[in-house]
């Protein structure tokens, strides 16, 4: 056992936002590297789109050149804003990297905030190579660049839905002694995760409890499954 007493809070980027319904929503801000990668993907997409448009429109004479100028303006200036507002806070690059932009309180981003954070990108790029934005996001606890600070926005990971896990179908067998709530929870998590672990690792983890339960190490997991079943109750 480790030293008793409360553990110091773990070093974590998790941010909890309390909603009007009285629950805490977990937001996990994304760091510099995934954001830079998402930006690179978006940059490449814009480059390809503009190149294709240029090949298509340039031979069309004056009207084509005008349309091309307008397209450059629209694609460069509004690509980010349109995707962020109309596509659940995700540009194609962010979607690829599993990111999304939200407001500080976890609600979806609107026109004003998106326009602001993308206009102020110009300031983040100063003096060259995004230096200001990189410095700011490395120093900020939620990895915000200056545009995010002004607009009150946050780039967070969008988690994939966790899989639905089944309880093992075994006969309930109550534990021979009382366990604290946190200990119960640790055992229940092991029971739920056993399908995702290698059999040898499951046995190794369960064996830690074998002496206390008074069973051979090989049978410890079966015993723990029975105990868990007794706790979580019949379906």
């Amino acid at each position: 056992m480790l030293a008793t007493g409360p553990h110091p809070p773990p070093v974590d980027t998790l941010m909890l936002v309390e909603t009007p319904e009285g629950i805490d929503l977990p937001l996990r801000p994304a760091g510099l590297v995934p954001r830079a990668l998402a930006f690179t993907v978006d940059l490449a997409i814009r480059g390809v789109v503009l190149l294709l448009l240029a090949l298509l429109l340039h031979p069309q004479g004056d009207m084509g050149v005008g349309a091309l100028l307008l397209a450059i303006f629209l694609v460069n200036g509004w690509y980010m804003v349109l995707f962020e507002v109309l596509h659940q806070g995700r540009t194609p690059g962010k979607q690829l990297l599993g990111l999304r932009v939200v407001l500080d309180d976890g609600t979806p981003i609107g026109w004003s905030a998106s326009l602001l954070r993308n206009l102020l990108r110009a300031a983040d790029m100063l003096p060259l190579g995004y230096a200001l934005g990189i410095t700011s996001s490395l120093l900020h606890p939620a990895f915000k660049r200056v545009g995010d600070l002004a607009a009150g926005t946050l780039v967070v990971y969008q988690d994939a839905p966790p899989p639905v896990l089944r309880w093992p179908e075994v006969a309930p067998a109550p534990a021979p002694f009382a366990l604290a709530a946190s200990e119960q929870r640790a055992l229940l998590e092991l029971v739920q995760r056993q399908a995702n672990l290698a059999p040898a690792r499951v046995e190794e983890l369960a064996a830690l409890l074998a002496p206390a339960l008074g069973v051979p190490a090989q049978q410890a997991m079966a015993r723990i499954n029975g105990i868990a079943r007794a706790w979580v109750g019949p379906a």
């Binding site: 909603t19 319904e21 009285g22 629950i23 929503l25 977990p26 937001l27 004479g61 004056d62 009207m63 050149v65 005008g66 349309a67 100028l69 307008l70 450059i72 303006f73 200036g77 507002v85 659940q88 939200v102 976890g106 609600t107 979806p108 609107g110 026109w111 004003s112 326009l115 602001l116 206009l119 102020l120 990108r121 110009a122 300031a123 100063l126 200056v146 600070l149 002004a150 607009a151 009150g152 988690d159 839905p161 966790p162 639905v164 896990l165 309880w167 709530a181 946190s182 119960q184 929870r185 229940l188 998590e189 739920q192 995760r193 706790w231 979580v232 109750g233 019949p234 379906a235």
Partner: protein, 325 residues
């Protein structure tokens, strides 16, 4: 209640909520139209709170948290109808916002027009000064551009009618780029905005002072007066919006600098919306009205003066509530 019973009795409700979420996220069934979404979301939140309180396993809690997070995203989106908003914003909101930030607007206007007038006057009095700011070749081509011999003024003098469209697109891009730059650089404690206001004033001032000496003087002034009403105002307002950001960083008052910046940015972006509209109007005028050589300078001056008066009246008077008698 044991966890398994809890899961078994609510499993179907969670699955139904997830299906509804999926539809809302693909924008097939907007949340506002679904009467059941709000209650279903609140029920999910209370299940999550219960699961946490009862120390159920983290897989269950993670799953409920994931659903709650997605539900929150769909329920709390604020996207008002843009059409009704735009008209109200243009008639009332924007001019009010400009007047509310009058100090910054005046400072920006003084910087831009002060530099412009001073430099134009200096260059007019000492013509050789122009060559120390702009290269001789560029000055010559500007003179050429506005020479009375051309039917079209401005850039690309000998152009076809279809080229008006090209120029419109060019002006939109170029001017909105300058305006956004002027705004964004305000984050550098306002210095960036001041620099761009000064820089633009300097450039325009040199050109104005220089061409006023030559035969191109009259065509030049008749060219710029019309769209200038919108273009110069728009650059000024973009600068004012940028100065607002800078001032929030210099003197945040009782707020933290971060909070002050967020508040100032919220107000400043209102100005930026107006600036974009102004610049679109300016580009239309510049490409399709100012550049027409067939219109006499006298008409252009008259219309230009009317436009200036209109813009100023709009910014000063529109959106005031009539006082109760």
């Amino acid at each position: 209640m044991k966890q398994r019973q809890f899961e078994a009795s609510h499993q179907r409700a969670w699955a139904a909520f997830e299906a509804q979420l999926g539809q809302a996220e693909r924008a097939k069934a907007p949340v506002e139209h679904a009467q059941t979404f709000g209650p279903a979301y609140r029920r999910l939140c209370s299940h999550l709170a219960l699961a946490q309180e009862r120390q159920y396993t983290s897989h269950l809690i993670d799953r409920l948290q994931h659903l709650a997070l997605r539900g929150h995203q769909q329920l709390y989106r604020h996207q008002p109808k843009p059409s009704a908003q735009l008209a109200h914003f243009l008639w009332v909101g924007f001019p009010r916002q400009v007047r509310a930030k009058g100090v910054f607007v005046l400072l920006a206007a003084a910087t831009l027009s002060g530099t412009l007038a001073l430099v134009a006057g200096l260059v007019y009095a000492y013509p050789e000064l122009a060559y120390s700011v702009l290269p001789a070749g560029q000055l010559a081509s500007i003179e050429q551009m506005y020479s009375p011999a051309h039917s079209h003024l401005g850039r690309a003098a000998d152009r076809q009618a279809s080229a008006d469209w090209v120029m419109f697109c060019f002006y939109v891009m170029n001017n909105i780029g300058i305006a956004f730059q002027t705004f964004a650089s305000g984050l550098l404690v306002g210095l960036g905005s001041l620099f761009y206001l000064f820089y633009n004033g300097l450039q325009i001032g040199v050109v104005a002072g220089h061409v006023s000496h030559s035969a191109a003087g009259l065509p030049f002034w008749s060219f710029v007066i019309g769209h200038g009403a919108f273009e110069l105002t728009a650059i000024t307002l973009a600068g004012a919006a940028g100065l607002q950001l800078g001032w929030a960083l210099i003197a945040p008052g009782p707020l933290s600098r971060g909070q002050a910046l967020r508040q100032a940015a919220k107000a400043a972006v209102q100005l930026v919306y107006g600036v974009v509209v102004f610049l679109l109007v300016a580009a239309l005028l510049e490409a399709y009205w100012s550049a027409k050589g067939s219109i006499t300078p006298a008409t252009k001056f008259a219309v230009g003066a009317a436009l200036w008066a209109g813009v100023l009246a709009y910014l000063l008077l529109a959106g005031r509530t009539p006082r109760a008698a």
